[in-house]
């Protein structure tokens, strides 16, 4: 087990192991998202209050889940990089950040689109939307900080520290925004307090969430593989792979 983890830390081994894992993650992701989409959009019953507009939940909720999980995994990767100096962890953090920002944007956008039929407006300073917006800014901060350094080593360490500071702050921000919102808007439409969903509704949602996670792992692995080739481009095994050395 330990040997496996040590192997994962080496770019060469990671490249080999990930090439075997990648097809599995892609297949699972495509299957789950395909099944979830068809089930959720075509077969799940319509909501008695919102009609068919609620079906945006099958994109909105998985994206929101991923947006938060990716930030946490980015901070964990940053911690691993700072403590054990494992390069792979930093590559993972660097490759996850744009995907996390994209997922946050998808969550925000689908939330805004969902707002039109439910609230009658594109944007409300709803607690969830507001904390998602702040999360989006945190992602942009991490990406911008990484881009601002000319030395890759400093950039990686600075981005790791910022991701860790951010992940400590996310729950604080989330609870203070919730508190702020309840103070200003005592009653409004809430997703948590409505009657529990029937299984026909939440099963496709669960499948979509799992599918999105597989998609995230697959995309991250794929991006990490190209990042490994880019960063290790002068190593012997990469040049052999590219056919430069016979």
């Amino acid at each position: 087990m330990w040997a496996f983890i040590h192997k994962l830390g080496s770019p060469k081994w990671f490249y080999a192991i990930s090439s075997r894992l990648l097809p599995w993650f892609w297949t699972t992701a495509v299957l789950l998202i395909g099944v979830g989409t068809v089930w959720g959009l075509a077969f799940a019953p319509a909501d008695y209050q919102q009609g068919n507009s609620y079906r945006i939940i099958y994109v909105h909720v998985p994206a929101a889940f991923l947006a938060q999980s990716i930030f946490v995994s980015m901070a964990v990767a940053g911690l691993i990089f700072m403590v054990w100096k494992i390069k792979i962890a930093d590559m993972a953090a660097a490759m996850m950040a744009p995907l996390g920002a994209a997922m946050t944007f998808v969550g925000l956008f689908s939330g805004a689109v969902w707002g039109v039929p439910t609230w009658g407006t594109w944007w409300m300073w709803d607690a969830r939307l507001t904390s998602m917006l702040i999360l989006f800014f945190l992602y942009i901060g991490v990406i911008a900080l990484r881009g601002a350094f000319s030395s890759r080593h400093s950039a990686s360490r600075a981005a790791s520290v910022l991701a860790m500071v951010g992940v400590i702050n996310i729950p604080i921000i989330k609870y203070s925004v919730d508190w702020w919102y309840t103070l200003h808007q005592p009653s409004s439409f809430s997703m948590t307090s409505r009657p529990s969903m029937p299984a026909d509704m939440w099963l496709p949602l669960l499948i979509m969430v799992l599918g999105f996670y597989c998609f995230f792992v697959a995309v991250t692995l794929m991006r990490m593989r190209s990042e490994i080739l880019r960063r290790e481009s002068n190593k012997r095994w990469v040049r052999e792979l590219a056919g430069e050395l016979s």
Partner: protein
């Protein structure tokens, strides 16, 4: 300015009489505090800038929105807090910049004393010279925005406690961007999202006073945020400074 490696074998009296900073965290802290205070007091215009900025931004709002006292009174707590927050942010970029450019930041990093403690002293001076004056000035500007009577004390107190957290959180961003030539805009991008909880409870405290609700809960949470920031931020600032210097 920094303690030497000599072990503390001398008696307190002998050390004080010679007036030399020798060993010991307390001496190093006192020296850092004194040095930063003197440096800031000799650049008075830099001290005034956040205060003038605060006053100017507050002047813009009645001009831009409406001079109606009733309307102004309702938005005054938020306006004052946002403007003070931006003024504190404005002064952050210079927190480590001067020391970085003249090389004394490297000496601070080389010192045998724990860096988080020394950094805490620098942040304390920053708060003393920006946060506290902003808090003291806020009631005057509140008067101009016709903030309801009785909330002035809470406004100053919430700003005094809140800006201490702002200085601590902001110093992390300042330390991360000190090595970058154009760190200013990036600094605000990094720091502003982290300021939101302080803003919520700071402005909330003033609003609660106006509405006649209990204010202790808000102030207690502001204090709790400060306690968390005091506990964690010095380590993050120290780590960030090491990244900026060694990179």
């Amino acid at each position: 300015m920094r303690g030497t490696e000599a072990p503390m074998v001398e008696e307190e009296g002998a050390r004080v009489s010679r007036g030399e900073p020798r060993g010991g965290l307390v001496v190093a802290l006192r020296a850092t505090l004194k040095r930063d205070l003197i440096l800031l007091l000799r650049r008075r215009s830099e001290l005034m800038n956040p205060l003038v900025f605060f006053a100017l931004v507050i002047t813009l709002f009645p001009i831009g929105i409406s001079p109606d006292p009733v309307l102004l009174a309702t938005i005054a707590p938020g306006l004052l807090w946002v403007a003070a927050l931006l003024a504190a942010l404005l002064s952050l970029d210079s927190l480590f910049r001067g020391d970085f450019e003249d090389g004394s930041l490297e000496q601070l990093l080389l010192s045998p004393q724990p860096l988080p403690a020394l950094v805490l002293a620098k942040v304390a001076v920053h708060w003393l010279m920006t946060g506290l004056p902003l808090a003291l000035m806020a009631p005057v500007l509140g008067l101009m925005l016709s903030l309801p009577a009785g909330s002035y004390g809470v406004l100053a107190l919430s700003l005094a406690v809140g800006t201490a957290s702002l200085s601590l959180i902001g110093a992390i961003g300042a330390a991360l961007t000190v090595g970058l030539s154009r760190g200013g805009v990036l600094l605000s991008l990094l720091v502003l999202p982290l300021y939101i909880p302080v803003l919520i409870f700071g402005a909330g405290a003033v609003k609660a006073t106006i509405m006649g609700d209990g204010v202790t809960a808000h102030l207690a949470i502001l204090g709790a945020l400060l306690a968390v920031a005091l506990m964690l931020a010095p380590w993050a600032i120290a780590a960030s400074l090491r990244i900026s210097i060694n990179g």
